[in-house]
Amino acid sequence: MHWFDSGFVFEEVLSRRLTGLHGFALFVTGGRPDRAEALLLDVVERAFERHLDGEDAAAALDRSLVTEAVRAPEPVTSSSNYQFRPTPGDLRTIPSIEPAMLRRATLKIPLPARVAIWLVVVERRTYTEVGDLLGVDRDGLCTLLAWRDAMVGLALAEARGHDGHVSTGS
């Protein structure tokens, strides 16, 4: 929960966070607007129910964001044991990673990892906060966050004109 969200009614908190929630929905749905918008509505409606049942607006949004994203599972579209770690050379020569490339790359990684990456890497929340939200310990969270490297590798591959599949040699 952000400190500036406290003391405001639900719609005010929602208004302030709506662009971020939409970005989250696009991220976990691989950038497909129809699915993202459906997810966004689900998150907001569920959060609003929680809020009317007495939960703080920001906390209700956070909790619904996690539960609704994972409740509407999306099959991982490639092998879930995909491994890629960009080398320093990769990072020195990258053309540019566009947001859309990252969104498409998320389709190749598990849903809980997408949620964790969004909260930690994109929103810059602390490990402790996200661990509590996801119900995982620090090691579990680090395991989820390790998928970030695979996501970046896929986005880099696309940026270089490959089809998004990078040989791991295995």
Binding site: F10, S15, H22, L40, Y127, T128
Partner: protein, 249 residues
């Protein structure tokens, strides 16, 4: 210290932290750890794309659907308006304007839905506030006209009068109907000019109405557009403003 602990202590790396023993130990670990250095280097590379991911607002229609869902939720549970935190006193007058706007909203549907009460308008007011990102801040009347044409699909000309300065315009929803509010600044305070397109509405000359707050409201209809003026001006001044609009070419 292991990698997971070091990263969790340092994260997020772009925010200042108290340099306690734990942080110093974490930084020493990262300095000597190839894997952790690569971890934070990737984060640096991602920074631009990360900002792009956070700056993608939903379409206007989705934004409205989201807030209509919360408005429906409140109505379904019989909640007119949640208790808002205390606001500075100067907002009281703006609150009066909102109530007067709600009266205008109730007038919009009185003929069709006499059973709807004023309270429901507060829900709409929430929506109006919630969609206020669809707005412009400008003193240029041509810019306001372009904004209204784009948002409402019809030409609406702001009122010209001595001492009346255009301050901006924003989209509003009143009783589920999409409209806009043009804001003017005057020496005695802000004046709100609501415009709600309503196909088939008969022209009606400006008339005075009082809101529960005692604030004066002038409403009229021209060219299938419902108008309302609300503000701290005298009734005569508000009526004069309204007549200027009706006489505009």
């Amino acid at each position: 210290m292991d990698c997971a602990h070091a990263r969790s202590v340092i994260w997020p790396p772009d925010r200042p932290k108290l340099a306690d023993a734990d942080l110093i130990a974490a930084q020493e670990h990262v300095t000597g750890c190839v894997s952790c250095r690569a971890h934070f280097e990737i984060d640096r590379v991602l920074d631009e794309a990360r900002k792009g991911l956070l700056a993608d607002p939903p379409r206007r229609e989705i934004r409205e659907r989201v807030f209509q869902a919360t408005a429906r939720g409140r109505s379904a549970r019989g909640i007119k308006r949640a208790k808002a935190p205390k606001r500075p006193a100067l907002v009281v007058m703006l609150g009066g304007v909102a109530v007067a706007g709600a009266v205008f909203a109730s007038q919009l549907v009185t003929a069709r839905s006499p059973d709807r009460h004023l309270g429901a308008a507060f829900v709409d007011d929430y929506v109006r506030l919630a969609v206020r990102e669809d707005h412009i801040v400008t003193s240029d009347s041509a810019e306001v006209r372009r904004f209204l044409l784009r948002e409402l699909g019809t030409t609406i000309i702001p009122i010209y009068a001595p001492g009346l300065r255009i301050a901006g315009a924003e989209v509003c929803l009143l009783r589920g109907r999409r409209g806009a509010m043009i804001r003017y600044d005057t020496d005695t305070g802000p004046v709100s000019h609501y415009v709600i397109p309503r196909a088939g509405a008969d022209d009606r000359p400006p008339e005075l109405t009082s809101s529960p707050t005692g604030m004066t409201l002038v409403t009229w209809v021209t060219n299938a557009i419902e108008h309302a003026l609300v503000g701290p001006l005298s009734p005569a001044d508000l009526l004069a403003m309204a007549h200027l609009e009706t006489q505009a070419p």
